[in-house]
Amino acid sequence: MHPTSLMMTSSLIIIFALLIFPVLSTFTPTTKTPDWATTHVKTSIKLSFFISLLPLFIFLNEGAETIITSWTWMNTTCFDINLSLKFDQYSIIFTPIALYVTWSILEFASWYMHADPNMNRFFKYLLIFLISMLILVTANNMFQLFIGWEGVGIMSFLLIGWWSGRADANTAALQAVLYNRVGDIGLIFAMAWMATNLNSWEMQQIFIASKDFDLTFPLLGLILAATGKSAQFGLHPWLPAAMEGPTPVSALLHSSTMVVAGIFLLVRMSPLLENNQIALTTCLCLGALTTLFTATCALTQNDIKKIAAFSTSSQLGLMMVTIGLNQPHLAFLHICTHAFFKAMLFLCSGAIIHSLNDEQDIRKMGGLHHLTPFTSSCLTIGSLALTGTPFLAGFFSKDAIIEALNTSHLNAWALTLTLLATSFTAIYSLRVVFFVSMGHPRFNSLSPINENNKSLINPIKRLAWGSIIAGLILTSNMLPLKTPIMTMTPLLKLAALIVTVIGLLLALELASLTSKQHQTSPNLALHHFSNMLGFFPSIIHRFSPKINLMLGQLIANQLVDQTWLEKVGPKAITTFNLPLIITTSNSQQGLIKTYLAFFLLTITLAIILTMS
């Protein structure tokens, strides 16, 4: 075996072994020490991160990629399912990023969850999630990808419902599972189509054998799967509801890693997508709609975690738009940069929430720039990166996407929506910073504010460095796989920046209105649409259960039970016969006088006739 591929294979196997070992050790009957989470789990992830840098450096130095098929799992005469791992550009770059972000989040979680009696189990769940995510990312066949896909879904359910005594948390966990299940239908359909038509689930064979097929249906299935997992419009309400889980869960699953799995699937399947115009247009329009709708919903939210959740959904919509532009590597770049600053935003939110005695409403925060300077500074850095401030991490990916959108020969509606959503991103980001960091405190003075903790500062610091330099490092090391168009007029080039600045100025103006007693006239309720999340949960969460229950009542109860089995069957006999019986018996009642009269008449007639 060539030394390069040997080193890469060994690194990957060692990473998996390091991650699986703590999980296996929990199956032994020995009780774990209270600091097992920090000593074993966090250490294994830290080590895995440093080991994962080796294949990354080999790839950057030599461009080496490997596909490792190690175990024949289920093989029939013409259909093989093997354990095969693909270490190409996407998985080689994403794995260290996922491990770095997870390392930071686990260190933060050791501070955030220190009062939780089941912290060890919490860390175990996070570790199982990470293993599933890496299985998904490194999968070279659809079956393995499906294993990872379902694994992350299940762990999401368990982690959202961590505080299972809370009804809202249980509802949110169920919501996540149900919406993801709808998406899974698409994935399973695509897998079934591939198995029957292409006779394989291995990605290389799928790409080669699908050249002469019309791939619209399986691609729409994959898009449905991405819609469910990546919270696109229509299957998006689970993501803000998932904020019921602890903040480390929101930071890891619902911002950086799990929710990008849908986009990652489409990036992996991009050779199939690139020749199908219907699928590309679907991605473009769905992504544009998602990014604007969720950015609109984020404008009027008051829960700091919900704002970040909608922001995540909006960025996922932007990634979907990029897929629709046939630029999967740009979508992947945005996945990587987004992981850093979004995780950092969540960690800062968690630090602030804990410092203010579990207060999550931004209207009850304020002045934290003086009280928690480090946290609020990193919140500002993360928000600036999110808005695409030049030369931070988000700029390299977001600006590239918007430039590609501006210079492509595609519909202007998607472009308009995306630019509007970019503006809204600036608005809600500034709103968060304004209400949280600026101004005067709007909370009680007896809050346990203390950010002077190594476990809190170090992870946020690491992610802050990532948010600043990750974009530069990634774009400098990765050559684009599609030639970017660098020629455009200054207005197009600066379009993203202009709309962001307009949004910031607008937000500053609107936010400053809150400190003045200013009655707006006319008194319009324009914010209702945004505040009620577009009325989407109100309509859908009531409508379809009501329809189902009504249909259930109508068909099962009224139609079958009451009508066919009662009214038409046995009771019909009664119904028809009873009036006849009643009429007959009624007609023969109360006639005794008539009978006597007839009797007398008959006797009289008989006597008269015999007498004559």
Partner: protein, 176 residues
């Protein structure tokens, strides 16, 4: 921001020249249909702002005013590339098929600037971990792609003007 990478570019003498709104580069292709005059310095910048303010004229032209003569960039052009030129050579690729196969270039990147990309890829591989190097090769590739874009714009504008000319000739023939 106003470097030579953009459509409102500058030629070697440092003057601002505006394209494609009725003017050509001084060193433009032979057979250029309009004479050359460009603004310089501040005047050119102000003129370019006026053009920026009037952006969208191409959309009005495409869909409203000249929808019958605007060429469709996705379809093959009607006019022969040699029409109007005494001699015009076909472009030749510098990078060979074999070189591009060895570098495993994706199909979309196998264009007339592939030789610069191959040099860039080699430079990146040789200079790693110094990821800030290879700026010169990167610029060469970007510049080549920019010139390629400008050439495509010019071909489009040539086709558009020839269509307008054809319509003018037909109208004159009908009037006569």
């Amino acid at each position: 921001m106003f470097s030579k990478h953009y459509v409102i570019g500058n030629n070697t003498s440092g003057t601002f020249v505006i394209w494609p709104y009725g003017r050509c580069f001084p060193e433009g292709p032979p057979g250029c249909l309009f004479p050359v005059k460009g603004g310089s310095g501040i005047k050119g910048f102000v003129e370019s702002l006026n053009i920026v303010a009037a952006m969208g004229a191409h959309l009005a032209r495409r869909y409203v005013t000249e929808s019958d003569t605007e060429p469709d960039p996705k379809r093959k052009y009607e006019f022969d590339p040699q029409f109007g030129f005494p001699e015009r050579n076909e472009r030749e690729m510098v990078a060979s098929q074999e070189q591009m196969n060895l570098a495993q270039l994706p199909l979309e990147q196998r264009d007339y600037c592939a030789q610069h990309l191959l040099k860039l890829m080699k430079c990146k591989r040789d200079n790693w971990p110094n990821f800030l190097s290879c700026q010169h090769e990167r610029h060469d590739w970007d510049s080549c792609e920019h010139q390629d874009y400008v050439m495509r714009m010019k071909e489009y504008e040539r086709e558009r003007r020839l269509q307008l000319r054809k319509k003018r000739v037909e109208n004159q023939a009908e009037a006569a």
